[in-house]
Subunit: 380 residues, 2 copies
Amino acid sequence: MHGCHCTGQRACAGTYSSVFVGTSLTRCDWKSQLKAGPGWGKWKQSLPNWDIITPIMCFRISINQLELELHHILPSLDCHIAVYSAMFYIIGLGLCDERDITVRGLEAVKSSSRVYLEAYTSILMVQKERLEAFYGKELILADRDMVETESDEILRDADREDISLLVVGDPFGATTHTDIILRARALKIPTRVVHNASIMNAVGACGLQLYNFGQTVSLVFFTETWKPDSFYDRIKDNSDLGLHTLVLLDIKVKEQSEENLARGRKIYEPPRYMSIPQAVSQLLEIEDMRKTGTLAADTTLAVAVSRVGGGEGNERIVAGTLAELAAQPAETFGEPLHSLVIVGKRLHHLEVAYAETFAVNRESWRGVAQSAYGCALDEQ
Amino acid sequence: MHGCHCTGQRACAGTYSSVFVGTSLTRCDWKSQLKAGPGWGKWKQSLPNWDIITPIMCFRISINQLELELHHILPSLDCHIAVYSAMFYIIGLGLCDERDITVRGLEAVKSSSRVYLEAYTSILMVQKERLEAFYGKELILADRDMVETESDEILRDADREDISLLVVGDPFGATTHTDIILRARALKIPTRVVHNASIMNAVGACGLQLYNFGQTVSLVFFTETWKPDSFYDRIKDNSDLGLHTLVLLDIKVKEQSEENLARGRKIYEPPRYMSIPQAVSQLLEIEDMRKTGTLAADTTLAVAVSRVGGGEGNERIVAGTLAELAAQPAETFGEPLHSLVIVGKRLHHLEVAYAETFAVNRESWRGVAQSAYGCALDEQ
């Protein structure tokens, strides 16, 4: 191979604010040859903000232009040039622990000069320290405020060095990260999303087919005076079509007591997670008001899931009627986060058979599936 | 620490057909101490199928019983015992290439004595050989027939050694793997699902909120005589609720020509993937028959996605009206697999803004969002 050829990661097909270049030349060769090259004077002039971070060079140029320019400066050298641009990574961590990150995600974390851990949309099953030990990186906690209002701080220098934001689940799962991606776009910072499992697809582990799910809903903590019930209409919409509904249960983090709030003290209450019995109680409370027959304690089947993918020691999947689930002690459902699936009438007998393993009471599970859902279980 | 303590991976809290035990004792110590222990005669009698695969021992026992028994046999020894059971792993590979496997999944692959790669539900962006090189393991291709009809061969010895089945996306994504899991359950083989991204959640990358998606549909290749159109009713159901619809486009692999089929020759045609223009054409063909106004060439917005998560070089997201998408050349949509999102009327102005980057024509994208979807874009 003769001349200068750009290879390597070419994710940066557009023009970005920064591109890094590494070569097969040694440090001395690279710098001296570059500066001795015939095009150097012109290039230096046209790219005043160049910088050599040997063997990496940082400048503002498109990849196509780069290839041409390097060929011009280093016409007689046999060398390979690996090109990559700095990147802002948003990395899904999956649902369980430090080992659920993808290999791609782990590589990005290791290449990043700052790594943020978003700690609000969900909770991890492991502590920050364990993640740090596994990744070999210090993590900067970023709460909701920070991701929403201080995105420029998170994105600082992301045009010149890799920066990662870690999020539980998938970056486009229950909470999306479109705001910070739009901001990165506006700043012309190349962004890469590293996908992972989220509860929106991993819920399939309960044996109900994802094809049979309608829209997902969130259920927030009711207070004495505030009982938002739009979720009910959505469950009803799904239910009328025979579809299952994934209900994501509320978490409260960084809550302040009224006294601390009044006194302006930034002291936060411990996090609260809605339990399955509480969720069932809220669902039935609204059913009692609306009386559409969408939900019924003894004839609506549901499946509670927590820590999906966490293995036998962590994952809990519990199936039963709403009344059965409400009657279970908290331990039955394991550690938070909890989600609840309301089973729709388009229930397939294979779904019944698969989820039966998780049933509080197998007979009643099968019985209700037959009597209230019309599943022909004898056909199995 | 005095006495015998079970530590290590205790995923196997139930009673399994096999458990492996490794100790901190050396090979000689372990065997001789075990056999010299006071409880050995009784244990040997009660567990006739024991086997020492030093420093690993294989037998049929529950973990709790094991701890008691070992304590009884080796009462005076200071040793740690790491316990784990053999496992059947179903591992999601995610959506792109060899680096999308999770660290947990990679560890399972490396510990497995046989690794199957399911090659039918979707296609990888990379070849089997590249996966093999990265994993350091030979992969056994398992097509649909094999996973469905030869699950016992896949599960062979999975009670005594780790076996992995790799699937593209998530094991509970568009195609579920409940059959083989049910079979493993029946054989009392402990199973662990390693989740990953699937198109069912990664589609959020197009900027449309997963909360606003209704049921997912599949669109199969029409033939002259067979045009199944139940997907249309589902799109209409979603559309009537204002919801987006993820449409998964058909792939045909291992098809035989009529001649080869007639002659019983197992010669297969090259794989076929439905293109976005073909999908749009089929959608509009059914709309023409049904005439419910659910879909309209010029006023229904849609987003084509392929190779989500594949980075700038691979991922393609293209937004426009159905007519605009149908008019694009094939290259616009990149390599298969393709999926299509039909945009529902509950479109939020932030969704419009985010997806605008991907629009064939930004003005028409915004124009239709305003006129046909009623999005108040000026509020941005």
